[in-house]
């Protein structure tokens, strides 16, 4: 176990090192003058010089790389040079709660829909329920969230007028419902398929047959004996899908005009401010790597049979 932990942390460290390096060099390949793209071509020469110094662009490339690492280590992700004194991290901290709220709500929706449907489909394989839910889940995977969002808006905000429009300055749970459904649908479909196949495998095992034979009720066999074992791979999928939720949030935040890391990233791209782009991309990948690491660790705790050697 200790060996596994050391190796797992070591791999994560290498990955984070690679991510930072890759992001640094990709963004330094941006053609044109980053100073001009932030300040505009007409900016005063003095301001440009100041900005160049602030962005460390007057240093040689390897020195810039080291200074970049310094910014990563003190978790500031660099100072925003067009707003002196404000770091990228401070801006990120302001928008992160909104994105996490969205991602968690989507995950909650996905679990609420996906797992029960998966169980029902697995209890009666190849019945009409199973076949219908198989088609529905395939549709859930195939519907792009950037189409589902506008369609839900047309249906619920425009036609039925039961839920608020985006931009109507609404807060609270109702403003979260449509974005969460939009973001969570694909994940719920994946969870459903995973739960179904995992349940089917477990339901054919001997211990389930034994439980049935000794007269345990059907509901108890399914929910107590089978489900607990079937959920292990499902937990992994939930962890792995967290990254997809964060990337999906970029799109969903755009559709519903919500604040968040995605909106900040798109604004950064629009303004061609590479410090903002860099900060958002690093934040999303870092959280993804950390969640994957946690999933791996939780996996071991959930299932004591798993051995790492």
């Amino acid at each position: 176990m200790t060996r596994f932990l050391v190796r797992r942390f070591f791999t994560s460290f290498i990955v984070l090192f690679g991510v930072v390096t890759l992001v640094f060099f990709i963004l330094r390949a941006v053609p044109g003058d980053p100073v001009e793209s932030i300040l505009g071509e007409q900016a005063l020469e003095v301001d440009k010089e100041q900005m160049r110094e602030c962005l460390n662009l007057d240093e040689p490339l390897w020195n810039q790389y080291l200074l970049f690492w310094q910014d990563v280590f003190d978790l500031s992700f660099g100072e925003l040079c067009d707003q002196p004194g404000v770091t990228v991290a401070e801006q990120l901290v302001e928008v992160i709660p909104a994105t996490f709220e969205l991602a968690l709500a989507a995950m909650f929706f996905a679990i609420l829909i996906g797992i029960p449907l998966g169980i029902i489909a697995a209890i009666r394989p190849y019945s009409w329920i199973d076949n219908t839910s198989a088609v529905i889940s395939l549709m859930g995977i195939s519907i792009p969230n950037f189409w589902l969002g506008p369609m839900l808006l047309i249906l619920f905000s425009l036609t039925l007028q039961v839920l608020p429009n985006p931009g109507a300055q609404v807060t609270g749970l109702t403003a979260l419902v449509l974005p969460a459904i939009t973001l969570g649908t694909a994940m719920s479909a994946k969870l459903m398929r995973m739960t179904r196949s995992s349940m089917l495998e477990v339901l054919n095992r001997e211990f389930v047959r034994t439980a049935k034979a000794k007269g345990v009720s059907r509901a108890r066999v399914v929910l107590k004996h089978a489900l607990r074992n079937a959920l292990i791979p499902v937990v992994t999928i939930i962890g792995l899908q967290f990254g997809a939720l964060l990337t999906g949030a970029i799109i969903v935040e755009k559709i519903f005009a919500r604040p968040g890391v995605g909106t900040m990233l798109l604004d950064g791209i629009e303004a061609r401010n590479y410090l903002v782009v860099q900060g958002c991309v690093l934040f999303i990948s870092f959280s993804y790597v950390v969640v994957n690491l946690l999933t791996d660790l939780v996996y071991g705790m959930v299932d004591p049979r798993i051995r790492y050697d």
Binding site: I14, V19, I26, L27, I143, F146, I154, G248, Y288, V289
Partner: protein
């Protein structure tokens, strides 16, 4: 064609066992390919046709699916959009699967330092969820072209194939037929690519099928974010435009989305069908 399929482990009776949904998918994809190839003959208007006096019109006899903010015909744009979808889907999956098969096979077969290096690179690439790396790469191109989008999606996409193939190669590397080939004096290159790799391709074919759907969705998502190809009409870009006018007129948001959904759904039907016949366990559907 059939003899090539046989080499990959697909037999004639396999094709007969393909599910009705998979056949439905194949038919729809045939139509999509047909539309993509013959777009200029099928489209009711020229691609450059714009009538500024008829902006944002709802569907009518003249414009079956209405017009967009420039007064261009939505149906025409959707028909030409099939080209972007097909090109991106096929190009990205061809590049990713080729690179992934070669690097994954080498990684799994030779092991050691090569394996360690290739796998760490895939780890790093896979730490960027979804289209994040593609967004980053496209950020550095000023005016993203179709080639830039294909390139960006390929850079981030091959790692999954490499991981899959590596795992497969590891599982067959010690089989008797590999030993027999070694005993016959064949070189490692011949053993790897003539004996080992062909026996690992069934799951790669399944993943590649779903990969086409993934690439089409990714391109549409990039276009929706304004980062798609600027030189050709894309479904995602039309949806982006439609989404900003949905309060005024919903048709522009509805139809490009339907095109994406039907194409992707059909590919997924085919992928599921292929998995059912190629997956020996038969029951899995995740």
């Amino acid at each position: 064609m059939l003899s090539q399929l046989t080499k990959l482990g697909i037999r004639k009776d396999h094709l007969e066992r393909l599910s009705p949904l998979a056949y439905f998918g194949i038919v729809v994809l045939g139509v999509v390919a047909f539309v993509a190839i013959f777009a200029p003959w099928l489209a009711p208007y020229e691609l450059t046709h714009m009538d500024v006096t008829r902006q944002l019109e709802s569907p009518s006899g003249d414009h079956w699916l209405g017009t967009d903010e420039n007064g261009a015909d939505v149906l025409t744009l959707i028909i030409y959009g099939t080209r972007v979808a097909c090109l991106v889907g096929i190009a990205v999956v061809s590049i990713c699967s080729t690179v992934g098969i070669i690097l994954g096979a080498v990684s799994g077969f030779f092991g050691g330092v090569i394996d360690e290096v290739i796998m760490r690179i895939t780890d790093i690439l896979m730490a960027f969820p979804g289209i994040l790396l593609a967004i980053l790469i496209i950020f550095i191109t000023q005016e993203p072209s179709l080639l830039a989008v294909i390139g960006a999606l390929s850079v981030s996409g091959w790692a999954g194939y490499a991981r899959l193939v590596r795992g497969q190669v590891l599982s067959v590397r010690d089989e008797a037929y590999v030993e027999a080939a070694t005993a016959l004096g064949f070189g490692p290159k011949r053993i790897l690519f003539r004996h080992v790799v062909p026996n690992t391709l069934a799951p790669v074919i399944i993943q590649a099928t779903f990969g086409v759907a993934g690439a089409i969705l990714a391109e549409a998502a990039l276009s929706f974010l304004g980062l798609g190809p600027q030189d050709m009409p894309s479904w995602g870009a039309q949806l982006d435009q439609g989404a900003s006018y949905f309060l005024l007129t919903p048709h522009m948001a509805i139809f490009p989305g339907l095109a994406i959904m039907f194409t992707v759904l059909s590919i997924n039907f085919v992928g599921d069908g292929l998995r059912d016949i190629l997956d020996p366990r038969g029951l899995s559907r995740h």
